[in-house]
């Protein structure tokens, strides 16, 4: 991330709860440069093949 962008990021993070700043900075610096905000939504109880299409395995801890 460019120096100017880092400065802008620090400026934005200064307005965020302190305990979130480090986490968000790591995420944003580590993500693709110049990313845009993206939100995906899904119904939890909808068996539509799933976001990854994988089912659980044979054995499940049930004790």
């Amino acid at each position: 991330m460019a120096h100017d962008s880092l400065k802008s990021l620090d400026n934005a993070l200064a307005h965020v709860k302190q305990d979130r700043r480090g986490f968000l900075k790591t995420l944003i610096v580590g993500s693709a440069a110049a990313a845009i905000p993206v939100m995906t939504s899904q119904a939890v109880a909808q068996d539509d093949g799933g976001d990854e299409g994988k089912k659980k395995k044979k054995k499940k801890k049930e004790e």
């Binding site: 968000l24 044979k58 801890k61």
Partner: protein, 390 residues
């Protein structure tokens, strides 16, 4: 519907449960049972949406981080957030969103997993153990989800955490042997098998048939029929009969059907079917060695997945066959010779190993072939079906 303008002061809906995860945030709306997944920049926007600043203020803060000319994406995101119910105007309600507890996250992960959304479930569960690192069962569930999403090393670490706190858990120790790539034991111990099926018995049939599309018995009887033709009225041993899945396809060819299994819980399920003439709780190799009986058909359907080297069990079965008797067995088909302990804790066998064990026991291979066995983590498992003749 409230449409934002640059002067609106959005905030996260007070009913929303938020949590950071490794690639952003998840926001769960219990009123609609919907989960929103926010990428890192969206997570930053969510943090800035606390009702104290306008969309314009937020755009001024975040705009410089966006691609040139894309600052209005902040407005669009806020609009989308309002439409989806993630955001409200500050004037609409008091209170603020709160963070998930570890238990809430784990519960959500469980539900997501049940509906096949394992990647998101994994992310939620990972956060749950971060919040409550001494919840050892949560580590087990994380290991399970890691396997679902193909994170083998992480699965091993998560299971190890659980195992460190549960030294008595034979099953997990066995699984860790596979995940550590240690030399596999000749077979899973009786304790491992008993533990697996003690926990598994209650939901066994539903999971195998509905979730995993298990077709072992159907393929098994086809293999048997290819060798014995239309013979019936036979003395049949269902070796490792479990709940009696295989018994249902063996019964039509049997005049006498005996089932043997190590798990009392599974045998109880078999008993309820009412198709066996006799059921015994015993370890199968020992039972074969001690039995004076002879059988026309010995069938071991999806049982030798707990055995590595097959020589001993095949020899024991051969010793209990009548002249012209057959030993029918199904396994998971392995690519590695002679066999391998897979990451699921089960063994997979190479066909050449089956042939060698048959030859050593004085049996001929009447049939050997491959077919779909069941699903595993969303992937088809190929079964290896063999019928060995006296």
């Amino acid at each position: 519907m409230v449409i934002p303008n640059s002067m609106a002061h959005p905030k996260i809906h007070p009913a929303i449960l938020l949590s950071p995860i490794e690639d952003g945030y998840v926001a769960y709306d219990p009123t609609t049972d919907r989960l929103h997944h926010l990428n890192p920049i969206a997570a930053l926007l969510a943090e800035l949406c606390d009702g104290s600043r306008s969309v314009e203020d937020i755009r001024n803060l975040v705009g410089p981080l966006l691609p040139p000319g894309q600052a209005e994406m902040v407005d669009r995101w806020a609009e989308e957030g309002l439409k989806s119910g993630l955001l409200i105007q500050d004037t609409e309600s008091s209170g603020s969103a709160r963070e998930f507890t570890a238990t809430e996250l784990a519960d959500l992960a469980k539900r997501l997993s049940e509906y096949g959304k394992v990647q998101t479930a994994y992310l939620c569960q990972k956060r749950a153990v971060a919040l409550e690192p001494e919840n050892w069962d949560a580590w087990y569930d994380l290991g399970d989800l890691c396997q679902s999403v193909g994170k083998r090393d992480e699965a091993r670490e998560a299971y190890q955490k659980y195992a460190d706190a549960h030294q008595e858990d034979a099953e997990i120790q066995h699984l860790l042997v596979a995940l550590r790539d240690d030399a596999p034991p000749p077979r899973a111990s009786d304790r491992v098998i008993q533990q697996i099926y003690k926990g598994f018995a209650r939901s066994y049939e539903e999971r195998m048939r509905d979730d995993l599309e298990y077709q072992g018995p159907e393929r098994m009887i086809e293999a048997i029929r290819s060798v014995i033709g239309t013979r019936s009225g036979l003395k049949v041993l269902d070796l490792g009969c479990g709940s009696g899945f295989a018994g249902t396809v063996l019964r039509p060819i049997a005049a006498d059907l005996t089932g043997v299994d190590l798990s009392p819980e599974m045998l109880e399920l078999a008993r309820k079917r009412g198709i066996y003439d006799r059921l015994e709780v015993a370890e199968i190799t020992g039972w074969l060695k001690d039995s004076p009986e002879r059988f026309d058909v010995i069938c071991s359907c999806d049982v030798l997945i707990y055995f590595g080297d097959l020589h001993e069990i095949v020899a024991a079965a051969a010793s209990r066959l009548k002249p012209d008797g057959i030993f029918a067995l199904s396994m998971e088909r392995g690519e590695r010779y002679p066999f391998q302990l897979t990451d699921t804790g089960r063994y997979a066998h190479h066909p050449d190993h089956v042939r060698e064990a048959a030859t050593a026991a004085g049996l001929a291979v009447g049939y050997i072939g491959e077919a779909f066995l069941r699903m595993e983590y969303g992937v088809p498992v190929t079964g290896l079906f063999a019928v060995l003749k006296k």
